[in-house]
Symmetry: C2
Subunit: 339 residues, 2 copies
């Protein structure tokens, strides 16, 4: 398996903003597996909004990626050499092999083997993977929607958001999406079945527009952004509403951003805001994945993908995602499977 392994190294943290220049492409030899190791050829790389936090030194739920090390990321790969009993040559794996074409693994950064006949491999990076689980478990375990309730989703056309909207609809809720482009609005309504969708960039008065879109108020808000979009939502919370804090893409400067205090709204509505991190809920992942797979195979759960080709494109793919320019789950096709 001699050859060149291209990989992206993090060379600076992005506290002052994320740019493609934070990453350096370097070459290394493709490594040979030692005892208990396997060699994984990376096929697909998932590009996620959470990466913004992983590469800054703002307080976060994990330590920042160390400077000089390979950038972290969820991947689908194929084992092409193996001295590991659980991962024979040819098998497909979901793991955290990061931004590189080849990776050695002792299994600790492999999440599970994949059956390529069950679903397209990339589905394990969105609806059947951490994206789908984040949507499902965040909505169901923290948001706790009841049939007939109104669920509002920010980044409604994004990978997590679009899945939340569809799950809420499958669970009998009225769904309202907030997104930021006319074609994303169309996708929300046509592809993801939202009952209503709002373009926060085009609405002259977002709070008023939300009020019209949610005549019975808002019971669950699945929040991927924070900031002014969320300020608008908070004005329409019902008594007992639940706000799932899943992401903070709309808050650009960490802990110092100012906004309206939420205390009065939470008190008056006896509402709840709660941070959600998938890692705390993995006990429930298997049951969640089973229901997601059932919906997906029945054609009830749709996922859009935006694919860029080649590891070299990974930094620009991340930039596209963070600008909101992507359409669907952002994926990098790193390599092709063996015949």
């Amino acid at each position: 398996m001699a050859g060149v392994n291209h990989r992206y190294i993090l060379r600076a943290h992005g506290d002052e903003g994320i740019t493609a220049e934070l990453f350096a492409l370097e070459e290394a030899p493709v490594p040979e597996p030692g005892p208990g190791q396997c060699l994984i050829k990376v096929l697909w790389l998932s590009v996620d909004p959470a990466m913004r936090g992983w590469i800054s030194t703002w307080p976060n739920y994990r330590d920042p990626v160390a400077l000089g090390s390979v950038m972290v990321g969820f991947t689908v790969g194929q084992v092409l050499a193996s001295r590991h009993p659980d991962y024979p040559v040819g098998c497909f794996v979901l793991g955290r092999q990061g931004w590189q074409e080849w990776a050695l693994s002792d299994g600790s950064d492999i999440d599970r083997r994949l059956d390529p006949d069950q679903a397209p491999l990339t589905a394990h990076l969105h609806v059947l993977g951490h994206t789908g689980l984040t949507a499902y478990l965040g909505l169901m375990r923290v948001g706790q929607p009841m049939p007939g309730e109104t669920v509002v989703v920010s980044t409604a056309a994004g990978a997590v958001g679009s899945t939340v909207g569809q799950i809420a609809k499958l669970k009998g809720c009225r769904t309202v999406g907030i997104t930021g482009a006319p074609d994303k609005i169309a996708s929300c309504l046509k592809d993801f079945g939202y009952d209503a969708a709002l373009d926060y960039k085009a609405e002259p008065d977002l709070p008023a527009a939300l009020g019209r879109a949610c005549p019975a108020g808002i019971d669950v808000y699945f929040d991927n952004v924070g900031g002014e979009i969320s300020d608008a939502v908070m004005q329409h919370l019902n008594v007992g509403a639940r706000v799932v804090i899943c992401g903070t893409l709309g808050i650009l400067d960490g802990e110092t951003a100012l906004g309206p205090r939420v205390n009065r709204q939470l008190l008056v509505k006896r509402a709840r805001m709660e941070g959600f991190l998938i890692l705390d809920h993995l006990d429930h992942a298997e049951a969640a994945r089973a229901e997601l797979a059932q919906w997906y195979q029945a054609g009830k759960l749709r996922a859009r993908e935006e694919v860029v080709d080649g590891l070299a494109q990974a930094p620009e793919a991340l930039m596209r995602l963070l600008r909101g320019d992507n359409r669907g789950k952002m994926l990098v096709r790193v390599g092709a499977p063996a015949d």
Copy 2:
């Protein structure tokens, strides 16, 4: 029962600030009970921080007190004339007779009869009444403290706060109080058993002082204020922390006050902020009151009272409370019981 009934009428809402001039003292004849009514002589009036919200038109969990009507308040009274089968002459009642010396009741604004031998009558306006229940149910049902956890309380020497601190201590927690005067600090430590107490007006760096007082971080924050005190607490939340929003005395201008956005902290710590209103939890009041009474009768739960004499003092008592000048539960002694 002929005579004069003094009563305070609300003559303006306090959206621009609460002043004693919002209330007008007027005289009316003492009424006669009709069929199914009783006549209550008000003995004690409870003065509560929530009154600020009741007399403003900011969004709230209840409609504002109507202009021209008797000011609302929790009271202990004695029935001195009766045509109501449940409330015979001489009995003591806890109710919502408001800021007046005499009140007719059909029973709908009476909460329960009181046994004057079980506890001092005034205890039913604090540790055994809505104050104690707010502390108990807010802490236990929303804060959900576990033994060994650190519980921080704002307005720690106040009626609700001091009860929260004592309950948390009885439940095996480390308790840290935040208050605003040296003698209140002493009272927190001596009367209410806090493990540490901080004077937010005297600390040059409240976040740092909190860090020192809470070396294991903060698991539960029982918040009666909001504002900068809470901003300091939020910096020390542990993973899975619970913030009980019980009051917002530190937020002066309703919905427009700006402060640091809490989204990042809630997400990174997977913490929860939740508004609490006693009215949502009355199903659990009886069990809570039983435990509070047991502690109180065993001398394990202390309550300070600050008493002013005469209904005429009620507006000034409210002003004292809102300024934080009171020491203990603020009560107005409106009348004396019959011999």
